[in-house]
């Protein structure tokens, strides 16, 4: 029987969006059955349009910056867009796949995406803004898969 991996994706920033999709697509390539449970801000990763997934240097002191940047400067309007653009350029230059590409690879490899119904309702997400291949469920739904996995991660 195939090994199983479950991931809980709770973050909706560009940097934290990568681990679930990288590990999900890789595990699927290695023959794992994979399920990713998206909850809270992780739900943003299910949007058809991922352009709102961004990165901020603010409150992110470990993020390597080309030049040291005081917090007061990081707060300025447009800094988030600029940091996101720079990060995307860096990822591309290094041959790292885009989030969209990795998400597609997950779907192609039959990684199952489950959106947390409670947080979808809580934040009044419009399901029509999500990609089609999403199922909806709660904590108990997650447990029924996660309880039987070889790897279970919280991101």
């Amino acid at each position: 029987m195939a090994k199983k991996m479950a991931i809980i994706a709770t973050k909706g920033t560009l940097d934290m969006a990568y681990p679930p999709f990288i590990l999900g697509s890789t595990a699927a390539a290695l023959g794992y059955d994979v399920q990713i449970f998206f909850t809270f801000y992780g739900l943003q990763l299910l949007r058809k349009d991922l352009s709102s997934v961004m990165i901020s240097p603010l409150a992110n002191p470990a993020m390597p910056m080309p030049v040291p940047m005081p917090v007061m400067v990081q707060m300025l309007p447009g800094m988030e867009s600029m940091a996101t653009m720079m990060m995307k350029q860096k990822l591309k230059k290094h041959g790292v796949a885009s989030l969209e590409e990795l998400r597609d690879l997950c779907l192609e490899a039959d990684v199952k995406f489950v959106a947390c119904q409670m947080t979808v309702d809580l934040f009044e997400f419009d399901k029509s803004e999500f990609i089609d291949n999403v199922e909806y469920g709660g904590a108990a739904t997650f447990m029924s898969f996660a309880g039987d996995t070889d790897i279970c991660l919280f991101v």
Partner: protein
Amino acid sequence: MNFDKELNARGLSCPLPIVKTKKSLADMTTGQVLKVISTDCGSLKDMAAFSEQTGNPLLSTVEENGEYVFYVKKK
């Protein structure tokens, strides 16, 4: 070494060389050999791990001019 199919994974970073290797092997038949060319030094260990976990034998690994060439046999 003879091979049946070649995968150019130059310039791609983790996990693309592995995921694309898996996809290439899916279209092949048992016993056929896939040649993978990668420039990602992480793929040295990752291809070995892929082979070990999926049971597709890694016949050879060659490093030349900053490129890594792998020959994977489809199980």
